[in-house]
């Protein structure tokens, strides 16, 4: 990963045309120059030129970015603002350390899968006993973002699952979010892959992909986690590593950059070449369906899939194969405002961005909203609750599973 001062040339490529102001979700709410790529790049540039200190205010402005990459895509000279912001956060972390809450999150909670589960278990307990109701209002609002948590994590369930054996093997990455919050998505993925006659190899030694560490400039831990994942898969000998989480997918695909110029780079790049989103893997392996079911489904593009991995058509194809009535929403690829923990740290701004998304969902009349990232899903479910709607949020693979398991209406899977 390039240190901040090596981005000088890119910083000077910003021609200040303002194209980013037209697409930035934060700017659409804040409407101030400090809240958009053009301003943030200027702040970083002035800091590197020695005209601006690393003040708390500057940290706030650097934090106030969802990393959705909308500005990068629309930028005429294609300044890599997302990378510059991450490098600036890393620079800040080195010079000034991390804020306390983030420090705990990055260094303690997210470094071991068990720790993350423990935190969520405590939340479950608090909810069961009603202790969570004692939280001050500002914290309670944030706690409400997290959905009902399942009784068992996927890791627990996995112990009772006998995985099918086959010559065709694919690796599967256990995302922390799906493991803890949406184990049913992982279950659906295995069901579908096994129906297609694949053996699903799930190494349990994997850890957090390091998205939050990468995002908030904790490069050291990001590398540690990345290396554990690379090792966990190298032992399995699979050629394909699938994930149902857009964020994990894009983070794992950036491992090459993380180890740039290091001795581990070659192995990291070989790992990267195997990582693939499940939608993309399945999109050319499913039968096409002619009849349309009654369910109307719309799709929200996670930033980490559509702009980081360039996967736009595949999830739509998966939904098509499920035989549902697909209805495209307006601004489907506009960020939902979730941003991992952004919704917790910047609740009000996040909700304004979410409201626009939910309005677009509502306009389609869909009863199912599909999306391919658990972080988006948490945010979207919160939005639906907030607006008093009854739309179900599912991963495309769950929509597929439901349609295949439905009696009578099962389009037969033919292996190609």
């Amino acid at each position: 990963m390039k240190p901040l001062h090596e981005f000088t040339e890119e910083l000077y490529r910003c021609i200040r045309c303002g194209s980013c102001t037209a697409v930035c979700p934060i700017f659409s709410v804040e409407k101030r120059e400090m809240s958009v790529a053009r301003g943030r790049l200027r702040l970083v540039r002035e800091h590197l030129a020695g005209n601006l200190d690393l003040t708390p205010k500057m940290r706030d402005y650097l934090d106030l970015c969802l990393g959705c990459r909308a500005c990068v895509v629309s930028c005429p000279p294609q300044v890599p603002t997302d990378k510059i912001i991450r490098a600036a956060r890393a620079h800040f972390a080195i010079k000034k350390g991390q804020p306390l809450v983030r420090h705990i999150l990055l260094k303690n909670v997210l470094v071991k899968p068990k720790h993350f589960t423990l935190v969520l278990d405590s939340l479950k307990l608090a909810r069961r006993t009603g202790v969570n109701r004692l939280l001050p209002k500002t914290l309670k609002t944030k706690e409400d973002i997290l959905p009902q948590l399942p009784k068992n994590t996927f890791r627990e369930l996995l112990k009772g699952i006998e995985l099918k054996k086959s010559d065709k093997k694919v690796g599967f990455f256990l995302s922390c979010m799906d493991n803890n919050v949406y184990p049913q998505v992982l279950r659906a993925a295995i069901n579908i892959l096994e129906k297609l006659d694949y053996e699903v190899v799930i190494p349990t030694k994997v850890v957090c992909c390091g998205a939050a560490h990468d995002n908030y400039g904790d490069v050291e831990n990001a590398r540690k986690l990345a290396w554990q994942n690379i090792e966990a898969f190298s032992a399995t000998g699979v050629d394909v590593i699938l994930t149902d989480c857009a964020t994990c997918g894009s983070t794992m695909q950036s491992y090459g950059e993380l180890f740039q110029g290091k001795s581990e780079e070659a192995e990291a790049l070989s790992f990267v070449s195997k990582v693939m989103d499940i939608n993309q893997f399945l999109s050319d392996k499913l039968p096409s369906v002619s009849e349309c079911a009654e369910t109307t489904v719309t799709y929200h593009d996670p930033c980490h899939l559509v702009r980081y991995q360039n996967v736009r058509e595949a999830p739509r194809k998966v939904l098509e194969s499920a035989g549902v009535n697909f209805k495209e929403m307006a601004e489907a690829d506009r960020c939902c405002g979730g941003g991992g923990t952004f919704n917790i740290f910047h609740y009000d701004i996040s909700m304004k961005i979410l409201d626009r998304k939910i309005e677009n969902v509502k306009q389609t009349g869909a009863s199912v909203l599909a999306t391919s990232c658990p972080a988006c899903r948490i945010q979207l479910e919160h939005g639906i609750k907030r607006h008093g709607l009854t739309i179900e949020v599912l991963h495309p693979i769950e929509v597929l599973e439901k349609s295949y398991l439905k009696e009578g209406g099962v389009p037969k899977i033919e292996i190609r």
Partner: protein, 463 residues
């Protein structure tokens, strides 16, 4: 530095959270797309016309300069607070107050984004034609202040042709209301025409009454390719002589097409001298007839190739190159000088030749785009602000380019405005008398010279 007591008064006008003075904040209001920059002393973000009036009154009393800022997307240096003072950011004025379908007009606040407004009126089958390149980030107030144009200007006119009336805050803080919802209005002097295009030097627009027209039913796009610039220019005149007014006559020279093709290959003929993207619009019945006529004219004047889009996808394909033009140039050089010299339509080959010669003479890359229908050329100088030697040559080339445009009976600026960058050429075009009359107007309305000072008119020897 502004005095504490003055900042305090500003805060009392607009609220503490709407006055920015921290360095991290004011730095972000120091720039626009031109290479100029200057950090203001404060940024004020008013929410009502009364607040602006009070702020301006305070500034006028204290002699503090004010620079109004809309979307910050102008390309003449208009948003630069060159004398420090206050930047007045207009983004809270973001309400479309009314779209009046009976009177075919709309009442909007000045901070509404141009493209947002267009989407809303088009959903009602209406049309607001001015389409500056920056429409997805520019504000209508800024468009009015710079009298913005765009590719559709030839057929539909420019922003001025759609302003029926406005509210503005004058340099002494008084509120001026002009015009209304009527198309006809000859009451008194036509101040609307005077203030539209005044580039923030005479006051701050806060509310606009804009004329709308019915949205054309249909459109068709084509690309005509030429081996000779003269043929391309004659074709433009030929189309107009055939009494067809296309919506768009977008000119691209070879250098521009090469850059675009290198950036996104979209099938532009890089060996041709020029291509013209032509679009006609009108009723379902009219459009096929028009496009046929245009095709005949193109053939008659020696187009080597003509591509007519038959589907929306093909039309998008033709547009893809033109739309990527600016990006392709921004990607190829760190600094762009985007000019808009404009000449009588018949002189297009002369100005294109002048620019091409200047590029060779000063060893510069100057691809040319242009709105051929109205002779509005966009030579874009690709350079690097850190290469001081090259910047010197850029400045010399610009001087000569403007001189040539004026000699051809043209003008310094077709649609971008004068701002900071072209002030020194004003006397060439206007002469002493022209400058004097404009100065008298400025003095009468802004005696303390606080409103966007040093823009449009050259500073006087003694202020």
């Amino acid at each position: 530095m502004l005095e504490k007591s003055f900042v305090h008064s500003l805060q009392q006008c607009v609220g503490r959270e709407n006055v920015l003075t921290d360095k991290e904040d004011i730095i972000c209001y120091s720039y626009d797309p031109t290479p100029n920059h200057q950090i203001p002393e404060a940024v004020v973000i008013p929410g009502t016309i009364e607040e602006i009036s009070q702020v301006v009154m305070l500034a006028n009393q204290a002699g503090i300069p004010i620079t109004p800022r809309g979307g910050g997307s102008n390309i003449c240096g208009n948003s630069i607070p060159i004398k420090g003072g206050i930047v007045l950011a207009m983004h809270r004025f973001d309400r479309i107050i009314e779209i009046d379908t009976a009177n075919l007009c709309a009442v909007v606040q000045a901070g509404v984004i141009t493209a947002d407004f267009q989407r809303q009126v088009e959903a009602l089958g209406l049309f607001y034609p001015p389409d500056p390149q920056a429409s997805s980030m520019s504000m209508l107030g800024g468009n009015v202040a710079t009298n913005a144009g765009g590719p559709r200007g030839f057929k539909y006119g420019v922003t001025r042709d759609y302003v029926l009336g406005f509210k503005m805050v004058l340099a002494d803080g008084r509120i001026l209301k002009m015009g209304g919802k009527t198309v006809k209005n000859v009451t008194g002097y036509d101040l609307t025409k005077l203030f539209v295009g005044s580039e923030g030097t005479l006051g701050i627009f806060t509310e606009l009454i804009l004329r709308l027209i019915p949205l054309p039913e249909s459109k068709r796009t084509m690309l005509a390719v030429f081996d000779d610039l003269l043929d391309a220019a004659r074709t433009v005149s030929g189309v107009i002589a055939a009494k067809i007014i296309p919506t768009t006559l977008e000119f691209m020279d070879r250098e521009a097409m090469r850059l675009i093709e290198a950036y996104v290959p979209c099938g532009l003929p890089v060996d041709a001298a020029a291509a013209i993207l032509i679009e006609v619009d009108g009723s379902e019945r009219d459009v096929p007839v028009q496009i046929k006529q245009v095709e005949e004219v193109c053939r008659q004047f020696g187009a080597r190739e003509i591509r007519i889009a038959t589907t929306e996808a093909e039309s998008n394909q033709i547009w893809a190159g033109r739309k990527a033009a600016f990006s392709s140039m921004a990607k190829s050089a760190p600094t762009l000088y985007v000019e808009d010299v404009t000449v009588p339509r018949s002189k297009i080959p002369d100005i294109v030749k002048t620019i091409t010669d200047l590029a060779a003479k000063y060893q510069l890359k100057i691809p040319i785009l242009g709105h051929a229908g109205d002779g509005n050329m966009h030579p874009i100088i690709l350079t690097d602000e850190n290469n001081h030697d090259e910047i010197k040559r850029v400045k010399l080339a610009i001087d000569e380019m403007f001189k040539a445009a004026l000699e051809l009976g043209g003008t310094l600026s077709g649609e971008h405005g004068i701002g900071l960058d072209k002030v020194k050429f004003m006397e060439w075009e206007l002469g002493e008398t022209g400058i004097d009359v404009m100065r008298k107007i400025k003095h009468a309305l802004d005696p303390r010279n606080i409103m966007n000072s040093n823009k449009v008119l050259p500073a006087e020897a003694v202020e």
